[in-house]
Amino acid sequence: MNLIVSNPQGSAMSGSSPSHTVLDVNDLRIEFHGKSETVVAVPTLSFRVKAGESYGLVGESGCGKSTTAMAIMGYLGSTGVIAGGSIRFEGKELVGASARELREIRGRQIAMVYQDPMSALNPVKTIGSQLAEVPLLHLGVSRTEAMEMAAAMLEDVRLPDAGDMLKRYPHQLSGGQQQRVVIAMALLARPSLLLLDEPTTGLDVTVEAAVIDLIGELRSRYSTSLLFISHNLGLIAETCDRVGIMYSGEMVEEGPTGDLFRRPRHPYTQGLIDCIPDITHDKRSRSLAAIPGHIPLPQERPIGCFFAPRCTGFTAGLCDRPDLELEHIGGDHMVRCIRWRDMKRSQPAQLAQIGKAQVQTQAVAVSGLTKLYKLGGDRTLKANESVSFNAAKAEIVALVGESGCGKSTLARIVTGLDRATSGEVRIAGENVAEIQAKDRPRDLLQSVQMIFQNPDSTLNPSHCAAFSIRRSIKKFGIRKGKAAIEERVRELLEMVRLSPAIANRKPNQLSGGQKQRIAIARAFAADPALIVADEPVSALDVSVQAAIVTLLLDIQREKQSTMLFISHDLALVRHVADKVVVMYLGKVMEQGTVEEVFDGGTHPYTEALISAIRSPNPDEKRRDRVHLTGDTPSPINVPTGCRFATRCHRKVGAVCDSVAPPLRKMSDTHEIACHIDATELRTTPSRYGALGQGRA
């Protein structure tokens, strides 16, 4: 299946100068040999990265994209084996290369940037010594020269005070700084190929934006080719020239970025694009199209098209033929779908029927809530400071902000896992801010339920899935009698669209999405008035995310429950929420209805957050990015004036540093805490607008 080889590069439409191939992966097959079984992680994979090109490898967890990167580096662990095919780098064969040959390539010619920079850096060695190792190893320079190169490189990745930075240890740096160090380390020996394995996953959005900008800039400066591995379509769309979509170890579609995202041909690609929330639509105008089912395990792969069990276009006799290949469909665009000509992209469902919640009865009122943690000495951590907002019945209020903004602490106080230092949280009129869960009366416990980011924290691994649902029903006496309880369990499972057979499985036999459904069923089993959902889908794959979000929205609407939806994902919030509360370092920066917050006239911080969202839609007008400098300060040393003053791009002047900003009433429901006055705030341009004509 040497389809790529048969196509001379630099053909018609790409218009790129004829450049040579840096990396040529051909029919690669990767297997993991366990004690009893062999798992084929990647059955066969081919792609090329050309000089100076940025190639994006996209896929959900388990699709084999990271394994491929590790195979390129020759680092598959003791069980991983390259069972076939070739990896050629600058013409040299890497499969079967000796340890010595690999050492000369690793770090020198191919370098890597990892997903979790904290753990990728050695905790007991200084940044300087870890950086200097690279030139010492590969460039034959002296220690002092190596240190000088390290310092220069740190300046290149925009880390302040390089000399001091060299002496620090990884734990003394923030996540964004750590990733810059890893990038610096990778670039020190001027490699010709850089592998980026989910380089910004786990970083805050504004930090991510800065890291991506940096990568783009360094790439053109050092003319390095990139192999960018990510699950984030928006990121790939923006940074890569060509994209390959992987599914269950196979390339299902490949093409130039614009072409592929504008005219996705494979049903999986189409599904992926349609299931991510985008900033221009909310839940009233578009529902997320979820891909049904889940990614097959390597041993569950069907014959023929691996996507068949989830595909609406499946046709027996066509799609289950074993010789399905990547097919050229014009230009560089290739698709592994026999029916690509028929696969019309389903238009996202436009819905208008959901009206706003009409009667506004107050369900939750948070006022002046403050939570301080005494850290010994005279240091206090200000997790929340005079936070106030309301939620009406059946309303979804989203709490957004980056790590350290206090949104999770707030959720803990509302649910009684923690106690407020001062202020009020009124649920149905009663102040619960200082009553911890163990002291709460049963009906209060029942009325507030929580859904966590990680469903494992509520599921007991030794009990079957239905156990926690059943216990919740019994505990709050929702139903009496064995039969009635079982009946209710069945109803709840049906509500979260799980087959009753799943009820008896242990959590470790369930997929992440199924576990989260169980967690949702458990939360709703108590018939709560308020649901606190703390990043409920951020640990899930995008195609699963959409299904869970849609489910959660459906149930919430049906049950008329109020929901606090905590998230860092603004596009998702846009899709889910009625009302948005933006927090930064423990304080509310802005709050208002979802339209007010997203449609221009916003707080500078919200503006930055929104501008950091990346959309895979190539026709969407490229937004002007707000470039924030620095990292979020530690909540122990908060800036005295406006909390955002150290990073704000619209700072008015010294007043921002010293005086807490006033609350600007933009409307009855819209408040912004900023020194910029209301009229000027109102003119903030909307950061996403109507669809423009192509990319700039």
């Binding site: 905790p123 007991v124 060695k125």
Partner: protein, 337 residues
């Protein structure tokens, strides 16, 4: 830092007080035994009663403990040295000084004359053993942790487990049979005098060997576990993918991280080697600290026991402190900021 050290010092004093009180309470639960032991088994009951009265040995436990403390810090003279007891116990340092551990009823000598000597002997033995245990266990641990389940790992693990599970007396007897009886190149006892015709250095070989064999396998296994965990950490992958050779990865990146967790275990061996080597000392008739403790506790020599307790506690606390300081040195994340 100063605060940290002061804190530790206070903790040490408190631990010593508690431990000494416990030992005191257990040994002295039956009043009057001091008099009986001082006078020996042939004294009449009348003599014992008289001495008991003189020593006020029927006072409540706490009062007597207070008095013992008083003697220790030099606040009051040792009552046993009072000439009126007729015991003729004499400490050349005088009856009242700081650090007066009292009179050993077992050896009929001031405790200070006995104990330091024995401690010194044991310290030499322990020091030699420790000097061998550290590199041996690190080498074994690192090599076997390098590739879990590999041939090298399995071989070394078998060696370590076998050695650790052979009791000290068994390996002692075995080595004696081998090197003293079958192939007599070493002495079978180590009294640390040259009377038997063997120079003193030779006398250390077998006891040290027994200790090393018994102890290093355990530490090596601790290091192995830690090494295995470290080799799976992503920063090791980073180092390998920088293009470093295995040797450089291990020495430059893995070793220090792998030593963080087993560091305390290693230091704990000092405590064991000082006070827990009774069996080895008995097998080789070695005049050591462990044997002294055993003899003293069999006899009920309270003064010697108390002194030994205080010394072991002090050593334990000091190694703990060293452990913490070493931690901070090895791991920058827990340095006091």
């Amino acid at each position: 830092m100063v605060k940290f050290l002061l804190n530790r010092l206070a903790m040490m004093l408190l631990t010593m007080l508690c431990a000494s009180f416990l030992v005191f309470a257990v040994c002295e639960y039956t009043p009057g035994s001091v008099a009986r032991k001082s006078l020996g088994p042939f004294a009449t009951q009348q003599q014992v009663d008289l001495l008991t009265a003189k020593l006020k040995a029927n006072d409540p436990l706490v009062v007597r403990y207070g008095r013992w403390l008083g003697v220790l810090v030099g606040a009051i003279p040792d009552p046993l040295q009072d000439p009126s007891t007729g015991l003729n116990f004499k400490d050349p340092r005088g009856a009242q000084y700081f650090g007066n551990f009292g009179y050993s009823t077992l050896n009929k000598l001031p405790v200070n004359d006995v104990i330091w000597n024995r401690l010194g002997n044991t310290a030499i033995l322990a020091g030699l053993a420790f000097l061998l245990i550290v590199p041996l266990s690190i080498i074994f641990g690192i090599l076997s942790g390098l590739k879990e389940g590999g041939a090298l790992d399995r071989t070394l693990s078998v060696i370590c487990i076998t050695f650790t599970s052979i009791p000290e007396f068994a390996s002692g007897v075995f080595l004696v049979t081998l090197f003293v009886i079958l192939w007599p190149i070493l002495p079978g006892t180590s009294p640390l005098t040259s009377d038997g015709g063997w120079a003193i250095p030779y006398q250390f070989v077998l006891p040290v060997a027994v200790l090393v064999i018994y102890d290093f396998g355990y530490v090596a296994r601790m290091i192995r576990v830690s090494m295995i965990a470290v080799m799976e950490r992503p920063y090791i992958r980073t180092a390998v993918l920088k293009g470093m050779s295995t040797r450089r990865v291990i020495l430059g990146h893995a070793l220090r991280n792998a030593m963080i967790a087993p560091f305390t275990v290693l230091l704990l061996q000092i405590n064991f080697l000082i006070s827990g080597v009774v069996v080895t000392e008995l097998v080789f008739a070695y005049p050591g600290f462990g044997r002294l403790i055993l003899e003293a506790s069999l006899f009920g020599d309270i003064s010697t026991l108390e002194a030994a307790t205080l010394i072991t506690v002090a050593i334990a606390v000091v190694t703990q402190l060293l452990g913490d300081l070493g931690y901070m040195l090895l791991d920058p994340r827990i340095r006091v900021r």
